[in-house]
Amino acid sequence: MTAHDVMDGEVLRAEGLGRVLQGAVPVTLVSGVTLGFRPASFSVITGPSGSGKSSLLYLLGLLDVPSSGEVLVGGAATSGLDDAARTRLRLAVFGFVFQFHFLLPEFSVLDNVMLPMRQLGRLKGVAMRARAMALLDSLGMADQALKKPDALSGGQRQRTAVARALANDPQVVLADEPTGSLDTRNAAAVFAVLAGLAGEGRTVIAVTHDEGLAAMAQRRIHLVDGRVVRDGPVGNAAVRR
């Protein structure tokens, strides 16, 4: 048992998580994964292509439903939740950053960042706008707030996507290959932002295949064929048997 298997104080936990795609030939994406994530931590999931990194991230973020096992959010099981409840939980607890920014092209940068806040409805008008501007400012995007996404560079778009992920002040930020479409300089900048989020007390989990960027995290989880084969501090990951 590693230190990360301790349940006390964990924000997010996977217990014996498995995901099998049913079909003529069933495909196992994730198998028997048990992991715990604490606040103020920055974890990366690495592994070869097709090892189930993204699949595990989607299961942890309640975007996908496990075939076996359980995802616990704040200690509460989620397997019994219907689609609407899972959607509400995603909105309140998680922030997502994908490889592609997926910003709505008709909306300005500011409006894109405010979308999750408008959906949650916790903040109103001026307060919502002020928070969105503060987030953009913290990511060096304040001066781009009124531009449309197609007027931004790739790095700026991804930073906007990060700001949108943080809009509802999520406890957990999940990033799936967030630097996959960026050049080296912008990729390092985005990873630095993610690392900074962990410093603010959030749980950050990122999928990456970039060894250099993975070195910026505190913890590294390495997958092979859907199973965790190494899990531990970066550069010193314990080998699982």
Binding site: S54, A84, T87, L91, A92, F102, E106, F107, L115, P116
Partner: protein
């Protein structure tokens, strides 16, 4: 602004041309619906008014709906007795107690009555015969039960009172016969009566059936020519409130036994044609609105297809399925509402233009133009059908969008 509303507005704004085409489709449908149904409604309203005004509201004739019980049936009340082809004992039919009936009816408030004798007549002019329905009337009393005196174009109805050899004919018949006011026409009846009558009046109701096939003569003259002295076979009843026609007819028939037909029964076949017309018109114009719905279906399906990634990201960050459906339904409704508003203006303008066109058959200088009935109900119905088809057209792709698994899109993009 609520999130689905602002996303819907953004989608429509970003596809201005497609949105405009869809709006125009709905507008055209609504406009055509209003103009065409209004035109048909105007025609029916005019026809109905003319029909009701030019004819009695209740007509009591010397017929009976059920023959009197026969002695055989009375003798065996529980037996199945059928007696066919019962003929009246007196071949000279008529309303036996017409004076009493008319007095009783005239005593009722809002009721006017006039005695008439209806019979066939053959008009002969320039070697040609014209078979018509001749009605013997008391011109003063008849004026109280129909608008015939208002429909006079030449001469007068009252002239029948001063000229016992007078005849009043329809304008269309006069044209056909080449007869004019003051001309003499030879007439004959099946009873053998033959004489020459002078045209003292020409009327035009606008109803072809009356204008070509009905003539009026003085009641006494008609009784003499039909060889039915002092007989009347129809009592014309005019009501101040036409909605009482069925009630008054039932009362008269129940009390005196003679067949009393309200105008709805007399013109039942025409009213049935109106119903058929309405089904065809509402069906065809309504289908234009449904076709317009396909335009909305097309734009929303395109948006759903193009916006698959946006929908996926919105779902992944926590937008519920209901909000996704609401977004696209709002788009459909927005197109529908804009289309309805434009269609109302288009329909109203179209109706105004149509109203300036001369009515068919008014080329004889009568000066009539087409009538378009523009009622709030027509506008409301057009809007209702358009909005319903908009919602349905949007709902189908919206449901598909909401069912999309965001993961499939996100995985596909990476």
């Amino acid at each position: 602004m609520m999130l689905p509303l602002s996303i819907a507005a953004a989608h429509l704004r970003s596809r201005r041309r497609q949105t405009l085409v869809s709006v125009l489709g709905v507008a055209l449908g609504v406009g055509v619906f209003i103009a065409v149904t209004g035109l048909m409604g105007g025609f029916q309203s005019y026809f109905r008014t003319q029909m009701i005004d030019s004819n009695p509201h209740v007509t009591i004739t010397d017929e009976v709906r059920q023959p009197a019980a026969q002695p055989l049936a009375m003798l065996h009340p529980r037996a199945a007795v059928a007696v066919a082809r019962i003929l009246p004992r007196d071949p000279v039919r008529g309303i036996a107690n017409a004076g009493e009936i008319m007095a009783a009816l005239a005593a009722m408030p809002g009721v006017a009555v006039a005695p008439t004798l209806r019979g066939q007549m053959l008009l002969r002019r320039a070697g040609r015969d014209y078979a018509v329905n001749a009605i013997g009337i008391d011109p003063v009393r008849e004026s109280a039960v129909t608008t015939l005196s208002r429909d006079m174009r030449q001469g007068s109805l009252e002239a029948l009172g001063s000229r016992p050899d007078g005849i009043v004919i329809g304008l269309a018949l006069a044209d056909k016969m080449g007869a004019a006011l003051g001309d003499t026409i030879s007439v004959a009846t099946s009873a053998g009566g033959e004489s020459a009558l002078r045209v003292v009046g020409i009327f035009r109701t606008g109803l072809e059936q009356l204008d070509t096939g009905q003539v009026y003569v003085a009641l006494n003259r008609q009784q003499s020519m039909q060889a039915r002295p002092r007989v009347i076979n129809e009592i014309h009843v005019k009501l101040a409130d036409i909605s009482r026609s069925r009630e008054v007819a039932a009362l008269a028939e129940g009390r005196w036994g003679y067949k009393a037909a309200p105008w709805e029964e007399t013109f039942a076949r025409i009213l049935e044609v109106f119903v058929l017309q309405n089904v065809i018109i509402y069906g065809s114009t309504g289908s234009i609105l449904l076709v317009a719905g396909f335009g909305i279906f097309n734009i929303i399906s395109t948006v759903v297809s193009e916006k698959a990634r946006d929908i996926a990201i919105m779902r992944s960050i926590g937008m519920p399925r209901g909000s996704v459906v609401a977004t696209f339904i709002v788009e459909g409704i927005a197109v529908g509402v804009m289309g309805v508003a434009a269609g109302w203006l288009l329909g109203g303008a179209g109706a105004s233009v149509i109203e300036t066109f001369p009515a068919p058959g008014s080329t004889d200088g009568e000066g009539g133009t087409l009538m378009v009935l523009q009622s709030p109900a027509t506008y409301g119905l057009a809007a209702g059908i358009a909005l319903l088809s908009s919602v349905v057209a949007a709902w189908i792709p919206a449901r598909k969008a909401a069912r999309t698994d965001p993961l499939v899109i996100i995985r596909g993009a990476t």
